[in-house]
């Protein structure tokens, strides 16, 4: 069973009289364990697609299924629950809650899920170690580099053991070396723990490392 499946998915934005088709006729399936990159130039619809997969936005037409559950028919509360329990997010930048330390940021998702404090702490420390930042537990985001912040975001995204982690241009704000290291980290987690990753990028260096590519252009999948 695919984790995510879309059926003729489309999303249009209306600004005044003008209608923009950000996504059009998207048919795709994401299987467990994939390390998938959505690539395409700026404005091609990468963010729109990831938002739809992440149950943050709903399509204008077509259908999207998460573990065969029809998201277009789900209530907002159910969507929030799916996000909380089944999806991890890494955004382009400013991912972390500024007033929380690295360890607390990782704990936050587990906190929302009602984990007991001790278990939360232990898991968060283990994850921090896994992303190579064990010495940074008590740093606030402002005292960490962009690459370190993104690593913490990755640790947070996998903390609740989601079915899928969605990363929208996670390397866009990083220099190429740091960006490559972040993708390596994600790949390692994918290989070692079987975490399913979907990330978007327009950087050729980054897309190289993907196991599969979906190319977007003007809101459509290129063959």
């Amino acid at each position: 069973m695919p984790i995510v499946r879309t059926d003729n998915l489309g999303r249009t934005y209306r600004t005044g009289q003008i209608e923009v088709a950000a996504l059009c006729m998207i048919d795709l399936a994401i299987e467990p364990g994939e390390f998938l990159a959505i690539v395409g130039p700026s404005g091609s619809g990468k963010t729109t697609l990831l938002n739809m997969i992440g149950a943050l936005d709903s399509p204008s037409h077509g259908k999207i299924f998460f573990e065969e559950e029809d998201l277009t028919a789900a209530r907002p509360a159910r969507l929030a629950e799916i996000r909380l329990k089944k999806i991890g997010f890494v955004f382009q930048a400013y991912n972390l809650i500024p007033v929380l330390t690295a360890i607390e940021n990782i704990e936050y998702v587990m906190l929302l899920q009602g984990w007991p404090e001790k278990k939360r702490r232990e898991k968060a420390f283990a994850l921090l170690k896994e992303v190579g930042l064990e010495g940074f537990a008590n740093r606030r985001p402002a005292d960490m580099s962009g690459g370190q912040q993104q690593r913490v975001a990755v640790a947070r995204a996998i903390a609740s053991e989601p079915k899928i982690v969605l990363a929208d241009e996670p390397t866009a704000n990083l220099d190429s070396k740091t960006g490559a290291a972040l993708i390596d980290l994600m790949h390692e987690l994918n290989q070692k723990k079987g975490v399913t990753f979907v990330f978007s990028t327009h950087d050729p260096m980054v897309m190289q490392r993907a196991q599969r590519l979906i190319r977007l252009k003007d809101g459509m999948i290129e063959a």
């Binding site: 929030a80 955004f91 500024p98």
Partner: protein
Amino acid sequence: MSSFIKIAWRNIFRNWRRSLFTIAAISVGLAALIFIWGFMDGTNEQMIDNSTSYLSGHLQIHKKGFHKDMSIFFALDNPQAVLSKLPALKEIKNYAQRIEGQALFSAGEKTAGAVLVGVEPEKEIKVTTLWQAVKTGRYLEPADTSAIVIGSALAERLKISLGGEVAVLTQAADGSLGAAKYKVAGIYSTGTDTFDGVYAFITLPAAQDLYALWGRSTGIVMTAQNRSVVPRLKKSLAGELDSQRFEVLDWWALIPEIAMSFVLHEVSASIILTVVFLIVAIGILNTILMSVVERVREFGVMMALGTNGRQVVLLVILESILLGAVGILIGGGLGVLLTLLTGRTGLDFSRYGKAMEVMPGIGAVIYPIVRLDRLAFLAILIFFFAVLAAVYPAIKAARLKPVAAIRHMETV
């Protein structure tokens, strides 16, 4: 919950300048309110205490109809019957009988109208304090038969001094004309014309002779253990006495001009209160609204991660409550300190003495007081305003769409 308190607390420190400013505004506002209210309460207390202690006491019992125009024909028929009920009432501290009536005073060529009061000196000095205002001569003694104590303003009008002779003419209860001569044994001066120019005192037996009221009096004046039990005492008295035949008057009714200024002070306090609270509330609203607007993307991320609307509302309101709580602690501390300090030393207004004399019962030195009920009221009100001011920003934050909120700063 406790985690959200931690996050809220840290968010306050994040923009500490703005938070400090808001907390300072709340603190100064609250401290000012506590002090202003304490000052007014102190003024009221002093005004009421002075006025009631000089002459009126806390409560008076008359025959029904006496108070309206102080007519000697409304004397108590059998004061002993009333007096016998008083020792059983625990709220009563002291009481004394009086005869009060209007009379014409003359000395030499001068005449003046005034109120002549017959008192039981040994009891009266436990009920009222006017005797302490005797500046020359002495107060009455129980055995006095022809001694009179008059106010300085009345003495001046009659051009009379200590040892001088005053002739008094009045209507007696039997319909005859009462007339007598007294020797000025003492002259008192309270500094207030409403006393010094109006009241003269003789002993109760002398007054009974003059007014033809042997064995009778026009009223009983009493003090309660403290002023707060007056309403209760009034009720029990009313229960003991036939309301068709007796009137029981509290200080509120006895000195209506005091009651008036009391109400006036309360009204001005509430006006100041409202203005200060509006300023404080707008300050809080502004701070919280700004902090929400600045953090749109952050809220978007939090919601994308699974934070629900209720938790966002909770977080924003907690931030406001914490600001308010810190402000309440600091402002409350400052306000209480300031009020206690000035309450101990007193605020001397003698430089503005002339203006103060116009107000009945107020001396030159005011002692502000701290009242716990006022403190609690103000603290709860600020707390309430802090919550109220955060409701709109909180709902605004909770209504954010994560997608739009995250895009909000994507290009930055």
